[in-house]
Symmetry: C2
Subunit: 391 residues, 2 copies
Amino acid sequence: MVGKPLATIVSAGLSKFGRREGLYWRELFIEAATEAFDRCPNLDPRKDIKAIFVGHMGESYEHQGHTAPTITDWLGLTPVQGFRLESACASSGAALRCAVMAIASGLVDVVLVGGVEKMTHRSTAEVTEFLAMASDFPFEQWNGLTFPGLYALMATAHMHKYGTREEQLAMVAVKNHKNAAINPKAQFQRAITIEEVLKSRVIAWPLKLYDCSPITDGASCAILVRPELAKKFTDTPVHIIASAGATDKIGVYEREDLTTLLSARVASQEAYRMAGVEPKDIDVAEVHDCFTIAEIILYEDLGFCPKGYGGKFIEEGQPEVGGKIPVNTSGGLKAKGHPVGATGVAQLYEVYLQLTNQAGPRQVSGAEIGLTHNMGGSGASAFVHIYKRGD
Amino acid sequence: MVGKPLATIVSAGLSKFGRREGLYWRELFIEAATEAFDRCPNLDPRKDIKAIFVGHMGESYEHQGHTAPTITDWLGLTPVQGFRLESACASSGAALRCAVMAIASGLVDVVLVGGVEKMTHRSTAEVTEFLAMASDFPFEQWNGLTFPGLYALMATAHMHKYGTREEQLAMVAVKNHKNAAINPKAQFQRAITIEEVLKSRVIAWPLKLYDCSPITDGASCAILVRPELAKKFTDTPVHIIASAGATDKIGVYEREDLTTLLSARVASQEAYRMAGVEPKDIDVAEVHDCFTIAEIILYEDLGFCPKGYGGKFIEEGQPEVGGKIPVNTSGGLKAKGHPVGATGVAQLYEVYLQLTNQAGPRQVSGAEIGLTHNMGGSGASAFVHIYKRGD
């Protein structure tokens, strides 16, 4: 039996992703929020919104913390209460989970949830340093281990244990670029070939440049309400029927097995239980493909295929649009782009479009149930949400 | 009629505040959590705790973000879900508000909430730079305005409009040092005189060194449960009967009146309404005295005295232990210390001790109702909670 809604999405917005020169992150957030407001003419933001929850990873990029009041101010929403969540690249997944709990508490009826990051104005070295704060300082950063290195450890372990091949990693990138090519908000709107991926320069073997998500500017936004109020705001509601989070050891060196992501397993199992659905019921999923190996491991840990079969799953085309479970129809982090704090709610945005039949040329026909998986760092945090098209 | 409990505190812990050399913030957090666990032998942390919420302002101090999984890992609580809240110096006030909503949602029964900051290993210039991230980058930081400067603007405006005097500011510092002198966890355990305050060096006139809260290392922790479950864990529960938050414009230059803090007014009025109590019912309060002028403005904006009478309120001894409303019996940020991310839940810790008759020589006799006010930056965010001694 499908679970009852915890909260309902009545609108969503997304800024164009990519290199957005000359803007502060607060301006990117306004772009995303404006789309969400325009899509929902029955919403009076100043009157209706009772709290905002925003995912924002790095205060260093613009030397600006205190994210929530910066946003309520620039959206003209003060004195409404606001919360900034940080959980590395899962920051807006965490914001979404808190927003869902806020609605479920009955203490607030209408909330704005979103995420934002402005990254491209800093050098690659600076971005690498800021992102590294999501890993363990004394035991990882101190030794020079960066995120491509951490995920390369997972990739080599997976290749060794399950025979996963570089070509299979490349297929994930090719699929996600193919999807992004028809997503007007994506950073990279062009298809690529397996050969291009394999020939791109090595970042941390076996991961090449095209196995890695890019540095991106962007913002995401959604409006959640108590399910009973949804009809006041929209004819096309999307219900959140499960919301779960989990953590794992911060240092990868502490984990027993590098080929699996504990946080994804725990959070997704909890979410399936809460939603009353199984992996086979998922019609469309956005998962955290920060590196191609992550998407392959996630096919397995989210239960889309048995453990060790992630490489085969992509090789057989099962996560393609038209396949068993279309994954990252937006282009994913890999090709839509990965403004870290914005990613969790950007995943929600794609699922929202799919479940309301607004995804245009990348629409998954008849999609009713969707899933998002947003991950922080090397998987030390994860948030999984399951969505159902409303009546 | 006093409101019904939203959540119940069954235990709390606080690290020693001050200069804590040779420790990472994660270790300070363990110190606070260990006290909370030891105080609550019926709690099995790994079995009972279903979520953690942690306030942490600055990832730059230790180059360590991804706060929540770092803590779940080091407390041995993985894979439990975790959330880091940042709202500048109100970070753990925000964490507390989210923890309360989580309990009220019915989705989790037992949560750990806390806050942490490790600051003293960095230079004063670095700390000033990191703290500045709580103010507006393009319009405040860029022009060299730091927090003593921002609060000095409020102080001069208050002196001009209401005749508040430097001696009255000094009296706040004297009172808080007097309280801290008998708080073994305080950073400054010694009394000071009005003359010492007035003769201390000017930081940003009229604020002298002794008008300013110090740079501090510390951590705070509490265990919240669904009210119905409290008796399983403790004989001395403390109920949270109101929880509210508000924001204000991020830039002080945008505000109409520098002598009042909108976020404190809005959040406290909402909290009093929710709790069904009035300011006169408050037996003990911890308020955000980052600078002495803040405490004076807060006497007014929290309704402890009429607008403009804050200076007179302290001069008459009304916020002293034994006065009308004892304020900052812990010593406050001024003398207990201000590890920014830890402060909100450290305020809760003092109220918890007071309402359970564990405050030792600084005990307010018969205290039943308490209030905490935690503020971010120059008041762009604030969280107010009201507490009631349980039966």
